[in-house]
């Protein structure tokens, strides 16, 4: 009996301790901004994938500089060290604010913004995926920093697509873009050549022929892999097909849009693409491609640095020659989609101006170029691209950099999540054969049209 009690006591002790530990991880956000306590000593060097939050130590971000402590939430994993280094330099360069970055997983971060909109528990500076920003601006999560940015006088150098994702419905800016990316077609040239195709496909027709030549569904090998999963990633990967067909979100049931839905449905039906794509995130599609299970895939800019060049599991597998080409065109239409992350200052911050100043420092042409080279992403301002030959010398980055000329922004729209859900739902219905392309397109339009009738998308998309 005694032993049982001891065990129970121990067990409850462990549970209580883990609860406390859980609180500790979230604590920096709630601490008073005026005092600047030293950050936790026991922090890990880099956040590990899978952990919800990770703290940093003074070694990473510099000793407290006497300024007010402000928190910065981000979900950079591979780039976390570089971000900390940048923050350290900034902390040492001034003493108005002392920035403490915290890694929060993307899902968790989104939940925190939503809850924080009600409770006010928000970081001072927050990172956000560009299509989500409009919703958070509408929810009042981010502060209007338009006047500071206008005064800065650098905005003309920014690309309109990424910058527009920081705009609220009032036209004001609530943040700055940090990096961009887009999608292109990644081809296993060995597989294509083996099938008698020497050149990566340039049109939908050529693409379909290449799929037909390389697919062998019996042995689990397909011509094409993409991500059609039921979240924003699915919509992200669908947009190049939708706009490539000559359609747009505003006319999701046009004959062109139906063609986009039916084209993907046919790929699945003909055995050129596995129906598993509806469960695949972009990483899963890449894994399939890297395992030789797909000849071509819809790949993002970040995959070069994060996976192809640096992830052992991928790097060691890919023994073949590969090539990036722009997304294939249909009837002369070619499209891809803009991705990327923004930073904003949260409305509950007591140091909005100082935080906005930090954002502007982060996004000077030089800093943006340095950052995007390091992260293997695309700069958000035109004058940054010219500072390095990184995006023009490497053929792979050049494809993405050039593709930005026909890249479509998602939104911005406060109800983007609902629009996005309608798109990936219709795409899944078409791919799984649960609805024919016309019905799927009509269902998407039935959700999207009333939303856009009330608040249209900005012109240009």
């Amino acid at each position: 009996m005694k032993r049982k009690q001891m065990t129970a006591l121990l067990a409850s002790g462990v549970i209580a301790a883990s609860l406390l530990a859980g609180c500790g991880a979230a604590a920096p956000a709630q601490e008073g901004a005026e005092t600047a306590p030293a950050p936790a000593e026991t922090a890990e060097e880099t956040p590990e994938a899978g952990t919800e939050t990770a703290e940093v130590s003074a070694d990473d971000i510099g000793e407290p500089n006497g300024g007010a402590q402000v928190t910065l939430w981000h979900y950079f994993e591979g780039e976390a060290d570089a971000l900390n280094k940048f923050v350290k330099d900034y902390n040492e360069s001034q003493n108005e604010i002392y920035i403490v970055p915290t890694f929060v997983s993307r899902e968790e971060l989104m939940k925190q913004y939503t809850i924080g909109a009600v409770s006010g528990d928000l970081p001072d500076i927050g990172m956000v995926d560009s299509p989500d920003m409009a919703s958070y601006i509408s929810l009042g999560v981010f502060a209007d920093i338009d006047s500071y940015l206008q005064e800065w006088g650098e905005l003309d150098n920014f690309y309109e697509g990424p910058l527009s994702s920081c705009r609220g419905s009032d036209g004001h800016l609530y943040g700055l873009p940090n990096n961009s990316n887009c999608l292109a077609l990644l081809c296993n040239m060995d597989m294509l050549k083996e099938a008698g195709i020497d050149k990566a496909p340039d049109t939908w027709e050529e693409f379909e022929a290449a799929c037909a030549a390389t697919s062998d569904p019996e042995s689990g090998v397909y011509g094409f892999a993409m991500c059609a999963v039921s979240n924003e990633e699915g919509t992200f990967q669908f947009i190049p097909w939708l706009y490539g067909a000559g359609a747009s979100i505003a006319d999701a049931d046009s004959p062109e849009a139906v063609r986009a839905f039916s084209f993907l449905a046919e790929l699945e039906k003909n055995g050129y693409m596995s129906n598993e794509v509806v469960g695949w995130g972009q990483g899963d599609a890449l894994n399939a491609w890297a395992a030789g299970k797909a000849a071509m895939m819809e790949a993002g800019t970040w995959m070069i640095a994060q996976n192809l060049d640096n992830a052992d599991s991928i790097k060691n597998n890919v023994t073949w020659e590969y090539e990036f080409v722009p997304m294939p065109s249909d009837n002369g239409n070619r499209a891809t989609v803009i991705g990327g992350e923004n930073f904003g200052v949260c409305s509950s911050s007591e140091h909005v101006e100082a935080c906005a100043k930090f954002l502007m420092t982060m996004e000077t042409a030089q800093n943006n170029a340095d950052w995007c080279e390091l992260a293997g992403k695309l700069p958000v301002r035109g004058d940054a691209v010219g500072l390095k030959d990184f995006w023009t010398a490497d053929e792979r980055y050049k494809v993405f950099n050039d593709s930005m000329n026909f890249a479509v922004a998602r939104g911005p729209h406060a109800q983007w999540p609902t629009i996005s859900e309608a798109l990936w739902t219709a795409e899944q219905a078409a791919i799984l054969g649960q609805a024919d392309a016309e019905t799927a397109a009509a269902q998407a339009a039935a959700v999207i049209d009333p939303i856009l009738a009330e608040t249209p998308l900005p012109s240009g998309n």
Partner: protein, 298 residues
């Protein structure tokens, strides 16, 4: 000051004793519930939230929900999921409880091992399910192919019908030990003397089971079914992790749908309304359960 009678004193003491519990209920349960009810009667969403431009809209959200084909599908999914889970987990759990009530060697350890499934966090079970039912790398397809029961890989989580079956299987994996546990404790409460007496009187196995075991086990059976209904009906983490409610909402249930509305679409009031529908159904079941317990006590 008037002297309190013994009875009054006792009653006051009683109130004092329930006060902490009552206060806890008001703060932890009452307030969020009221807040949720109010929210479900307004039109708080991504457009009206920040400007506080939301208004009282009465039952409009509920009307909209019940005119929404997706919501009706999800309501149906929730009942289908709950019904089949109860059928399988109760039947199999009951059979296992009866089986392990025979005291054979290793009965204890094996029963203990079955309970491991119940102790596993639902998120782990859901991940296991996601991997086991995977089309190309899942162990289930692999086994079925090897044994020749299937000639091509089945889609499991990629088609609406089979995805629902898969989440039901995973939920039963947890539900069976739970049912077994409660029914076993009920079975141990039945005195062996009664069964022995019946046997002496010439009752066969079947008669003993239906005329003695089942009637005596009635309170335990009802409790298991009610609790099982409540636990299953408010399922969330299993679908959230294993299928994300997909494909095409086929495994979406009220819990995941309400979460999706509030946290993904920022339709806070609609999400609250969906959650209220879930609450009301469980509330009715709960009342029914309490009434039944009271009846049993008399």
């Amino acid at each position: 000051m008037k002297k309190l009678t013994m009875q009054q004193k006792k009653r006051r003491e009683g109130y004092a004793f329930i006060l902490p519990g009552f206060a806890y209920m008001v703060v932890i349960l009452g307030y969020p519930l009221l807040y949720n009810i109010v929210l479900s009667l307004e039109n708080v969403n991504v457009k009206t939230f920040a400007g506080k431009s939301y208004t009282f809209v009465g039952l409009q959200n509920y009307a909209a929900l019940f005119h929404n084909a997706t919501f009706l599908l999800i309501l149906k999914n929730t009942f289908v999921f709950t019904f089949w889970c109860l059928v399988f987990q109760f039947t199999i759990g009951f059979l296992l409880a009866l089986f392990f009530s025979k005291r054979f060697t290793l009965a204890g350890p094996i029963r203990g091992m079955i309970l491991v499934a119940y102790m596993m966090p639902m998120s782990v079970t859901a991940l296991l399910g996601k991997n086991m039912f995977d089309k190309s790398s899942g162990v289930i397809n692999d086994l079925l192919l090897r044994t020749g029961l299937l000639h091509a890989r089945a889609d499991w989580l990629l088609q609406p019908g089979t995805a629902m079956a898969a989440v039901i299987v995973m939920n039963c994996w947890v539900g069976i030990p739970f049912n077994m546990l409660l029914l076993t404790s009920g079975l141990t409460g039945i005195s062996g003397d009664i069964l022995e007496a019946a046997e002496v009187d010439g009752a066969n196995h079947w008669q003993r089971f239906w005329k003695i075991t089942v009637p005596l086990l009635r309170p335990a059976i009802m409790a298991v079914l009610m609790l099982g209904f409540i636990y299953t009906f408010k399922a969330f983490d299993l679908m959230f992790i294993m299928t994300s409610g997909g494909p095409l909402n086929s495994t979406d249930v009220l819990g995941t749908y309400a979460y999706n509305l509030s946290f993904k679409q920022y339709e806070f009031s609609m999400g609250s309304s969906a959650a209220m529908v879930l609450f009301c159904i469980l509330f009715v079941i709960g009342l029914f359960y309490l009434k039944m317990v009271a009846a049993e006590d008399q």
